[in-house]
């Protein structure tokens, strides 16, 4: 799920950045530092959309660095248990398949793939129903449900399932 939220961060700035462009420098550094990172609470910071306010700077003793509390708006992405996500399959093997939804890596084990889908090895490993009508392989797009999440410093891991109504392949690259 995406959220548009306000976060705060204390930015330390080297004195050489002071001057007319101080604000620009601060924002540029903020984007560099924050975009693409993860936090357990908020998830993946996709993009900074605006600056709410920049507080008064505080000179750090000894170093000359100045700390600015910056409040900024950003779009974050965090998967939740029970959330339905659409993801692209990246790898299929006998354990199940791996899929990606943006920065999130999702694993759907073969326990959570419907029982009528069977693993087929070969050049293009895939899971196929007995009548061959549905096929999951690399680059397939699937709709899945998240049943477990873990957020690391830089990565988000999820366990997904497609063993439920209305879940599974939503487009088939081979048929397209």
């Amino acid at each position: 799920m995406f959220f548009h939220i306000v976060l705060e961060r204390n930015m330390q700035l080297h004195p050489r950045f002071f001057g007319r462009n101080l604000r620009d420098n601060l924002v540029a550094k903020l984007m560099k530092d924050v975009e693409g990172t993860c936090s357990g609470r908020h998830g993946f910071v996709v993009a900074i959309t605006g600056i709410e306010n920049i507080g008064k700077g505080l000179i750090r003793e000894g170093t000359g660095y100045v700390t600015f509390p910056v409040k900024y708006q950003c779009v974050v992405f965090r998967p939740f248990k029970g959330e339905i996500l659409e993801a692209v399959v990246t790898m299929v093997n006998k354990m199940g398949f791996f899929a990606e939804a943006g920065p999130v890596q999702i694993f759907v084990s073969n326990h959570l793939i419907p029982d009528d889908m069977e693993f087929q090895s070969g050049d293009m490993p895939n899971y196929t129903t007995s009548d061959g009508s549905v096929k999951i392989q690399k680059d397939s797009e699937v709709r899945l449900k998240i049943i477990g999440t873990r957020v690391d410093a830089t990565e988000i891991f999820c366990i997904g399932t497609i063993k439920d109504d209305f879940l599974g392949v939503i487009n088939d690259p081979a048929a397209a």
């Binding site: 959220f3 939220i5 976060l7 705060e8 530092d33 936090s39 609470r41 029970g82 049943i147 477990g148």
Partner: protein, 459 residues
């Protein structure tokens, strides 16, 4: 300190909150069995308990609000979605067949301790429990037998290719730099420079044909003692179209034991696995699966590493023969094993053992030979423990210490020994120990004439 890096404090509080919700809803759905302070809610109607929980959740969230930096709206959204989820999850007992990123791959629960074997080479953070591995091996086997395939584990260095550090290229090898193949079209070349790894790599002659033919009979793995990045680069050279190995590239980083290769990280049943390697010591537990390869030394540095002072293939500007080199020989053996396994064995397919096939095939090589050794082993060395003795017996020959008429071969390095002279007199074959080794590596009884013991060299 920034908020993003600061967040563990917050996240732990939200985790607490999540587990609080877990406990709440869990006790709600399991009925009256709980003994916690929330018991009174269990006897209420579902609707009622739901309401109470919601109230509690809100209360808790208000408490949390002052320290949180997010808007209240956002927190509420989180609460709502978490609540919906929790009610949906059934409290099944789960055997936890494996984990991904620390979560059970079946129930999604966070697992504290990792059990089983890590399969990092397939995907980062993937662990499988032993039961699950056994189950996967079994189902996979059925699948594979349907396609009439077995497993083949391939070593890289000295088996399929030879690499050297750019710094170790000798002056006689400088000519190679001009002969390097472009990496534009990998599938046509055999000599490559990988600048970023400071490595020059020569693929063994015949390797492309070998892989192509083997892929029709086997599901192939790469298993190398090199590190992961090296293994992946080599896989790219050997399999530029990614049709043979896929994610089945195992490096030393993925093994479970240091300096050992093991089949525990291979998702294949041991009785259907063949291993191609040049180092027997790496596979102490799986010697029966192993087809030992003659080492491929192309570069001078590789020869020195193993203590050979002779000129390397590269310095002599020559190479192994394409048509009857080691790989061409071994593909022949693999084909025979495959044919015997699938077409000649009579028993139940599931009960067949490729190790047995390998053993019988090996036994045919020197069948009917009776070998006596003459001054090959050091004095007082238990002959039966010697490498050559064992090798000869594996090849189906009978080894003896008593000289009599039934002996067919005398193995000696010196034509002057008593037994050697006896062999010449009785018109028995007098061969060099290399005859046994050559027969072992080529899977074929070698012509005795090419391994005769030099009469003049004898003292």
């Amino acid at each position: 300190m920034s908020l993003v890096t600061d967040s563990p404090v917050h996240s732990s509080s939200s985790d607490d909150f999540a587990s609080y919700l877990d406990a709440q809803l869990g006790s709600g759905s399991t009925g009256t069995s709980g003994s916690s302070a929330d018991d009174e809610t269990d006897n209420e109607s579902d609707h009622e308990s739901e309401r109470i929980k919601r109230r509690k959740a809100e209360k808790l969230e208000i408490l949390e609000e002052p320290e949180g930096s997010t808007s209240r709206e956002y927190s509420e959204q989180i609460v709502d979605s978490e609540q919906i989820v929790e009610t949906n999850i059934k409290q099944d007992s789960c055997s936890h067949p494996g984990s991904f990123g620390g979560m059970c791959m079946r129930c999604g629960k966070s697992l504290e301790e990792k059990s089983g074997v890590t399969f990092g080479y397939i995907h980062k953070g993937l662990w499988l429990a032993n039961d699950e591995i056994a189950r996967l091996r079994k189902t996979d086997m059925k699948n594979l037998l349907r396609y009439k395939k077995l497993y083949l584990i391939l070593d890289l260095d000295h088996t399929l290719l030879n690499s050297t550090s750019l710094a170790h290229i000798s002056s006689d090898e400088e000519h190679l730099r001009g002969k390097v193949d472009s990496r534009e079209d990998i599938s046509k070349g055999s000599l490559f420079i990988l600048e970023h790894m400071h490595t020059m790599t020569k693929l063994r002659p015949f390797v492309r044909t070998f892989l192509k033919e083997a892929s029709e009979m086997f599901e192939m793995y790469i298993y190398t003692m090199g590190d992961r990045s090296y293994a992946l680069e080599m896989a790219k050279l050997l399999d530029p179209k990614r049709e043979y190995f896929h994610e089945r590239v195992i490096s030393r980083d993925d093994g479970t034991q240091r300096h050992q290769k093991g089949l525990d990280v291979v998702l294949g049943q041991e009785s259907y696995v063949l291993i191609l390697d040049d180092t027997e010591q790496a596979w102490t537990k799986h010697k029966d699966n192993l087809l030992l390869m003659e080492r491929y030394h192309y570069f001078a540095s590789s020869c020195q590493q193993f203590g050979f002072s002779c000129k390397s293939l590269s310095e002599m500007e020559t190479d192994e023969n394409e048509g009857d080199g080691a790989l061409a020989t071994v593909i022949g053996v693999l084909k025979r094993v495959h044919t015997i396994f699938f077409h000649e064995l009579e028993d139940e397919l599931a009960g067949r053992d490729v190790r047995q096939v390998l053993k019988t095939l090996r036994k045919e090589v020197l069948e009917g030979c009776k070998i006596i050794f003459s001054r090959v082993f050091p004095t007082h060395f238990p002959a039966r423990q010697h490498q050559l003795w064992k090798m000869a017996e594996q090849l189906g020959a009978t080894c003896t210490v008593d000289l009599d008429d039934s002996v067919t071969h005398v193995v000696a390095t010196d034509a002057g020994t008593e037994k050697s002279r006896w062999a010449v007199k009785e018109k028995k074959s007098l061969v060099h120990p290399r005859w046994i080794e050559a027969s072992y590596y080529f899977w074929k009884r070698q012509p005795e004439e090419s391994f005769s013991v030099d009469q003049k060299a004898s003292s």
